[in-house]
Each structure stands twice: as C-alpha cells, then as structure tokens.
C-alpha cells in the first residue's frame, strides 16, 4: 500500500513529467494499433485478391482434369452438385473452361475462355466488382464478353468493340462467332490479365457445342470460421467421385508467398514496435534519472533498494495503464475510421496492379482485430517493463551519498 500510495503521489503530483511520459507511450501505442490494423487490412486484402477474386476457397473437378484439361471431362449434373454443397454450408458456382483464339482487326492471341453464370459467380468471388471499363456480364444478355486488362491491350479493344473467337467445339467442328467487348477488368492476376475472357455459360455451351456439365465448381464457406482443411474433408465426403482441392492446394506457391508475407510483415511490425519502444524508454529513463537525488535521500532515510525498485516498477505500471487507455482511445477510433474509408494511395499508384500474381489496390483499409489491438497493448507493457528494469535497478543500487550530491 505504501508503494502504491507513493507511486500515485509521484504520478499525480509531478504532472509535467507524468504527462510527457504517458503521452509519449500513448502516442506510441496508438500508432502501433493503427499500424497493426493497417497491416491486418493489407494482408486481408492480399488474401482476398488472391483467393476471393477468382479462385474461390475450394474447387471441384473430375479426377485428372487439372493435369490434362479436356473439354469432355465434365462434372455431370452440376446443378445437383451445387444443391448438395449448399445444403452442406457452401455457396457455389459452376464454370465451363475452354481455349481458343481471339482476333480483333489485325491483332490476335490465344485466350482462356470461361463460361459462367453471373449471378452464381457473384456469390463466390468478387470479380464482378473489379471492372475497370465498361460493365460486368449481365444475366440474360448474350454475346458480351469481359476481358483481362492486358488481353484488351494486346487486342487493342475497348468496351463496345467487336472481336472474333475461333476454337475447336466438342462435336469436332470449328467453332467461331462474333462477340462484343462488354467490359475490361482491373489487374487480377497474371493468368486472367493476359488471357482471361469471360462469357455467359449459355454462350459458352453454344460456342463449344457442349450441352451439359461443368468443368469446375467453385465453392465458398458460409461459415468463415470453419477451418479450410475441415471444409475440404466435408466436401470430399460429399463428392467421393470428384477431386476436392482448397485454394492452398491449388496454388501452393501463392499460399507460401502469403505465409511469407505474414512473417515479413510481423518483422516490419516488430521493427516499428522497437522504434516506438525507444521513444517510451527514453521518456522513462528521463523520469528516473532526474530523480536520482530524491531516491538518494529516500535510501538515506531507510527506504530499501528493493522497495525503490518496486516503487519505480509500480509507477511504470500505473503510467502504462493510463497510456494504454489513451492509446486505445485514440488508436481504436482511428483504425475503425480507416476500416470504413480507405487510405487512398492512388496519387502513387493510379490503378490496381499485380505483384507476384496477386492484385493490389491503391486503396488500403484498416482491419481491427483482437490481435491488432491487444498485441500493441501487450507490447507497450512489455517495452515499458523491460525498459524500466535498468533505471529501476540503477535506482535500487545507487549509493545514497553519491545520489544526494548528484547534480
């Protein structure tokens, strides 16, 4: 009680010193909360762009299709498969996949053609929100196509322009037809950017003379807390005749890249924390060293070194607690604000771009999570207590004779 009472008096009655220390720590804490939330948001955006943009969380194919894609290797009755998946807790969309040659004026290139149901697709991925020019596919409308951004550059086409598609139909005939460019996508990923061509599933069936089936079913968990591996196990039990793969199995390199990004961001976070930790430590060292004569007098009149150590630690804990409350008061609303409105870096990066196959937007959102809030607070306590050990020990061991005459 004596220590607590003394610590409170030292804090409350030395207002200038107290506020300098507390505000330094609170500022550091608020910055750490905001920065951690921003990085959480960035990581989530990266994963979302990698997974939710086009790939989806889990995909179903007939066995062997992925190694050697054939137009004829289809999942029969995809409607029934989607209904079973939905009843097991998964939203889904069936896709048709083929390839061909696209030509516009004097330009031509190979394209990866994807036939989709626009409404179903919008339930599992977010590609429809990623249109740079023109518009996304409209349910019921025919002969419109949406292109990847580099493909549009290669073909030198924009919304409203016509292009010719040529391919090999399922019945062996030469497929060819005229389509109108309806939209151009922002950067999504290298594969789609260079060769992605999206059209309604009915157009695909007509073009390739493929009456039924789907090549791929993309699924999304209704419950995002269900672990991905568990989801794969559930679906494998539900579709024993199909190959069930999570996005991590489909894109192991990308999964590793994201994991590595997680580690490198944690290191960046630690470096930032260390820098703000220095700020905190400096304020605390000043707070102890300027009181050396007082501590010397206290020791001279019988205040033991152990008690002095306890007093300094007790003061520090009280100050950190106050600073943590202030840091929460400032850092949380700031992060919450930028969770709704993004930090816009479009003055540096005019549009979305792809790095290592993952699309990045110039708008960054914060994401407030228990980790982004509690970790900085925990770190504040850790830095405070670690950094106070040296001055507290110095105070505890100081010679009262020297301390009393210390200037």
């Amino acid at each position: 009680m004596l220590l607590l009472s003394l610590a409170l008096k030292n804090i409350l009655r030395s207002r200038f010193r107290t506020w300098v220390t507390i505000l330094a720590m609170a500022f550091a804490g608020a910055i750490m909360i905001f920065y951690a939330s921003l990085l959480e948001g960035w990581m989530q955006a990266m994963e979302t762009n990698a997974v939710s943009m086009e790939m989806g969380e889990v995909q179903l194919h007939v066995p062997g299709y992925r190694d050697d894609p054939e137009l004829y290797d289809v999942i029969l009755d995809p409607g029934a498969a989607l209904a079973r998946a939905e009843s097991a807790g998964f939203a889904g969309s069936a896709r048709l996949l083929g390839s061909g040659l696209a030509a516009a004026q004097e330009n031509s290139t190979g394209v990866a053609i994807r036939g989709i149901e626009p409404e179903a697709e919008a339930r599992v991925v977010r590609l429809h929100r990623h249109v740079k020019a023109g518009s996304w596919l409209v349910p019921g409308e025919r002969n419109g196509v949406v292109l990847g951004q580099q493909l549009a550059v290669i073909l030198d086409v924009g919304p409203g322009d016509e292009l010719v598609l040529v391919g090999q139909a399922a019945d062996g005939s030469m497929a060819n037809d005229l389509f109108v460019v309806q939209g151009i996508l922002k950067s999504v990923g290298q594969g789609i950017d260079r060769a992605g061509l999206f059209m309604p599933a009915d157009d695909f069936r007509a073009f390739f003379a493929l009456a039924e089936g789907a090549h791929e079913i993309v699924l999304q968990r209704f419950d995002p807390d269900l672990p991905l591996d568990d989801a794969v196990n559930v679906l494998a039990g539900l579709f024993p005749g199909l190959e069930v793969k999570s996005w991590r199995q489909l894109q192991p390199t990308l999964a590793r890249l994201l994991d590595l990004s997680d580690v490198s961001l944690a290191i960046m976070l630690l470096i930032t924390y260390a820098a703000v930790g220095m700020l905190t430590m400096n304020a605390m060292l000043m707070g102890v060293f300027e009181r050396i004569p007082v501590f010397g007098v206290m020791k001279a009149i019988g205040f033991s070194g152990v008690r002095l150590f306890g007093l300094v630690v007790c003061e520090t804990l009280l100050q950190i607690t106050l600073a943590a409350l202030l840091a929460l008061g400032a850092g949380l609303p700031l992060s919450a604000y930028f969770a709704r409105r993004p930090l816009d870096f479009s003055f540096l990066l005019r549009e979305s771009s792809t790095i290592a196959g993952v699309a990045f937007e110039p708008q960054w959102y914060c994401r407030v999570t228990p980790g982004s809030v509690l970790l900085p607070i925990f770190f504040l306590y850790a830095v405070g207590l670690v950094s106070i050990c040296y001055p507290a020990l110095k105070a505890a061991l100081l010679s009262p004779v020297r301390a009393v005459h210390h200037q």
């Binding site: 008096k9 007082v294 007098v297 206290m298 020791k299 009149i301 019988g302 033991s304 070194g305 010679s399």
Partner: protein, 231 residues
C-alpha cells in the same frame, strides 16, 4: 563502550581514489559521541566533516577501523540491515533540506514512520506533535516548493526527529538559510536536545553553530585537531 556512548569511531580512515590520486579524507580518527550531546564537527573544506557524518550514518563505510553505533559494528551489518538501521536509529538533516518534492510537509515527516509500519493513528499524533514543536503545523499540507528555505529545514528536522532516533546527523544545516532562519533552526535543535534529550552532531563552517555547540570537535586534514567541551 560505556552505556551513554552512542557513537564510537575506532582508528577510522577513509580513503578515496580520484583518478590515480589517493585522497585520505579521514585519517586514523578515534572519537566518541555520548547520548544527549549537542556537538559540532568543524574545520575547513576537505577536513573530513561530511565523510565522518556519512560513516556514522551508515551511508559510507571506513577504509580502515570500525564505526560503532549503539555498540554495533556497522561493518557487520548487511545492506538491508544498514537500511533498517538508518531508518530506525539515525535522523538526517541535509544542507539542501532534501525533502521529497511530491510529498507535503506532513507526508515528509510521516515518511519514516510509514516505513516503520507505525499505525496510521499513531503516525498522525506523532507527526502533528513534532510539526507543532518545529512550528510547522500550520504548513502541514504545503509541499516543499511552497515553503521557504528555513521552513523546509524545519520540516527536515521534524522528519529527522519524529522516529526518535539515537542520533541526528546534520550536515551544514544553516548553510542555505538566512541568519534569522538559522537562529530559529538552532533554537529549535537546542530545544529538542534540552527538552527531549535528542543527540545532535553537526558538521559546520558556521560560527553561530560553533558558538551554540556544547562540544566542538575541530578537524584538519581528516585528523582531530582539538576537542573542546568533550569532557
């Protein structure tokens, strides 16, 4: 050591090193202080006055010889025992008052009693009594920066005597106050010595203090030059 002896210095030397130079601040000193004395150590700067007070107060240890306080050889006490010994048996009055700046006059005087775990009610009675004795009861709730130098020194005296120590060591207690305040402080210490039997040992340059001391121990170069009134 006789019963009335509180302090005994036996062949005490204190040697400091300043770089490669050895400074002998106290040189083979023998000295006794008896209960109830009102004594002063005097001498020019560097004569060893403050060093002797520091060693008697268990703040510093001799390089040679032994310091006994109430019959106990201070060299035999651990760091913790020395801390408790200072708390319970020694009162300090410093030249620069050295009150704890965040505590009021009352809290400064109460501090040692709180360290001794004296019950709150008893603390209050004893602290208010001693503040009245030093004439500071009306300023009990003021902090050091709201008091004059003389007033701060009176609070420092209250803090030094409130725990009824065996001896009060005062290092140049009048050095930083004006002559009127110095006279008041000396009156107060003399009164505490006379009425309460508090033993005082000063270090001083101040002729007024030397005039009031009933025993004057003159030092030169760390050695005893004269001992006047020691009986």
């Amino acid at each position: 050591m006789s019963e009335e002896q509180i302090v005994r210095l036996a062949g005490v030397s204190r040697v400091y090193r300043q770089g490669n130079v050895e400074v002998r601040a106290v040189d083979r000193l023998d000295l006794d202080i008896r209960a109830g004395e009102f004594s002063a150590l005097s001498g020019p700067s560097g004569s060893g006055k403050t060093t002797i007070l520091n060693m008697i107060g268990a703040l510093d240890a001799p390089s040679e010889g032994a310091v006994y306080l109430e019959g106990r050889n201070l060299a035999e006490l651990s760091r913790g025992e020395l801390s408790r010994f200072r708390r319970d048996r020694v009162g300090f009055v410093f030249q620069s008052y050295n009150l704890i700046p965040v505590l009021t006059a009352y809290e400064n005087a109460e501090f040692v009693l709180a360290l001794q775990n004296v019950p709150a009610m008893e603390r209050k009675t004893r602290v208010m009594a001693v503040l009245r004795e030093v004439g500071m009861a009306a300023y009990a709730n003021r902090r050091p920066d709201e008091l004059s130098g003389g007033q701060q020194q009176r609070v420092a005296i209250a803090r030094a005597v409130v725990s009824e120590p065996a001896i009060v060591l005062a290092d140049e207690p009048t050095a930083n106050v004006d002559s009127e305040a110095a006279a008041t402080i000396l009156d107060l210490m003399e009164q505490l010595n006379r009425e309460k039997g508090v033993t005082f040992l000063f270090s001083t340059h101040d002729q007024r203090v030397m005039d009031r001391a009933r025993r004057l121990i003159r030092l030169r170069d760390g050695r005893l030059e004269a001992d006047e009134g020691g009986g």
